[in-house]
Amino acid sequence: MRRFLKNRPLVVAVAAVFILLIVALATSGDRTLTFVESAFGGAIQPVRSFASRASLAIVGFAQNIFNTTDADIENQQLKVYVSQLEQTVNELDAIKAENERLKQLLNFTEATPELNYTTGVVIGRSQGIWFDTFTLNIGKAKGVEKNMPIVNSSGLVGRITSVGATYSKAVSLIDSSMSVSVTIERTRDTGMVRGTLTPGNEVDTLELYYLPADADLLPGDKVVTSGIGGIYPKGILIGEVREVSRSSSSERNATLTPAVDFRHIEEVMVIGGMEALEGVE
C-alpha cells in the first residue's frame, strides 16, 4: 500500500479514472450540457462541420470514380472529356439529390403545420456499435430542447438527448436503448419498437414487441408512431415489417426494416411544438 501511495503518477491516474467513471455514471441520463462542454463543443463545431462536409465530398468523389470504369476502354483524350462531363453530371446529380431531400423535408413540414421544425446537419457520430448517437449542428440557440423528436424525409430518426448552445447530441432510433410506442398502419394495433444490437448486418434492424396476442401482422406492413407518451408526434413512419415471429416463448412479435437509412443521414429536422399538438388533439 505504501509503495502504491509513493507512486504519485499511479495514484493520480487511478483517482482520475475513478472520478471520470463517476462522472460518466452521473451523466448517463438525458441532460443539458454543462457550460464547459457547451463552450468546448461550440468552439470545435466549425471544424467538425467543415470536416464532415469534406468527408462527404471525398466519399462522393470516390464513389464517382468507381462508377466510371467504362471510361477505361476509351482513348486518353476522350477519357478526360468524359470524366469532365461526368464530373459536371455528378455535381448536378448531387445538387438534384440534395434538392429532392430538401423538397421532401418541406413536404413533411407542410403536412403538419402546427409543429415547428428546425433543420440541422449531422456533424459527427459515435464510434462502435454499442451506442448509436450522433451530433447535430443546432442547439439551444436555435430552440432545440431535450427530448425533441428528429425526423428526415424518410421517417423517424431519433430524439435529442443533450443540448449545448450551438450543438446537440441525439440518440438514433436503432440504438438499443430506444423504445417507441407504435401503431401498425393497416390493423391499428399498438406495440413497442426497440433498437437492436446486430453487428455484421448490412441492413439495420428494429424489433417490434408487445402486440396483442391476436394481432394480424404481415410482412410489408407499415409501422408508424402512435403518439402515446407525448414525445413523438402521431403517424411518423418507423419502418416496415420484415419478418413475423409466431413463437409463443418469445416476446418479440416481428423484425422491422427501418424507413430511415441510418448509415447515410445528412440533413434532419428537429420537431418542436409538441405542446401545441397536444392542444389540437
Binding site: A13, T27, S126, T133, S176, L197, G200
Partner: protein, 171 residues
C-alpha cells in the same frame, strides 16, 4: 514541429477519423479505434504520464463531441495510456509488432467492457455473435492501425527528442 504540436495534430487526426470518417466509411461497422491506438503508441514512445495525458484529453474530446457518457472514453483511454507506458524503454524500440499487439488487446478489452455495460443496461445481444463479427475484427484492425501509426510516429518522436537533447547540450 515540437512535441505539443505533434500530439495536437495526432489527436485531431484521430478525432476526425473516429467521429467523422469511419462512421461514414466502414465495413459492416468494423473500424479501428484510432484514439486508443494513438494513446498506446504515445505511451510506448514516451511513457505512462504522456500516454495517460493524451488518453484522457483525447477521450474527453470524444466524449464531449460525440459520446453518450461524459468521462467514459476519457477513463478508458487514460487507463490504456497509463498501462501501456509500463513498456516504455522496456523492450527493443524498433519492434513495431508490440504496439500492434498491445492495441489489439486493449481494443478487445475495451469492447468487452462496453459489452458488459450494454448488457447491464438491458441491451440484449448474442455475445458469441458480437465477439466474432465485431469485437475480434475491430481488435485486429485497431492493431493494424497501431502498426501504421507507430511507423509514422516513431521517427517524428525520435527527431523531436534528439532535437531537444541537442538544444540542451548547446545551452
Amino acid at each position: 514541429m515540437n512535441r505539443v504540436a505533434l500530439l495536437g495534430v495526432t489527436m485531431f487526426i484521430c478525432f476526425y477519423m473516429d467521429s467523422i470518417f469511419f462512421p461514414l466509411v466502414n465495413f459492416y461497422d468494423i473500424c479501428p479505434d484510432m484514439m486508443l491506438a494513438a494513446s498506446i503508441c504515445i505511451a510506448i514512445l514516451s511513457g505512462s504520464v504522456s500516454g495517460a495525458r493524451f488518453g484522457v484529453i483525447g477521450g474527453l474530446v470524444m466524449d464531449i463531441a460525440v459520446g453518450r457518457f461524459l468521462g467514459l472514453n476519457g477513463a478508458m483511454y487514460m487507463s490504456v495510456g497509463y498501462l501501456a507506458g509500463f513498456f516504455y524503454k522496456k523492450y527493443y524500440a524498433d519492434n513495431i509488432i508490440f504496439p500492434a499487439v498491445a492495441s489489439s488487446a486493449a481494443c478487445f478489452l475495451k469492447d468487452n467492457f462496453l459489452a458488459a455495460i450494454s448488457a447491464l443496461t438491458g441491451t440484449k445481444f448474442v455475445y458469441t455473435s458480437v465477439l466474432l463479427t465485431y469485437i475480434v475484427p475491430c481488435a485486429l484492425i485497431t492493431g493494424a492501425a497501431a502498426f501504421l501509426m507507430y511507423v509514422i510516429l516513431k521517427p517524428l518522436f525520435t527527431s523531436i527528442v534528439n532535437k531537444s537533447q541537442q538544444e540542451r547540450v548547446t545551452n
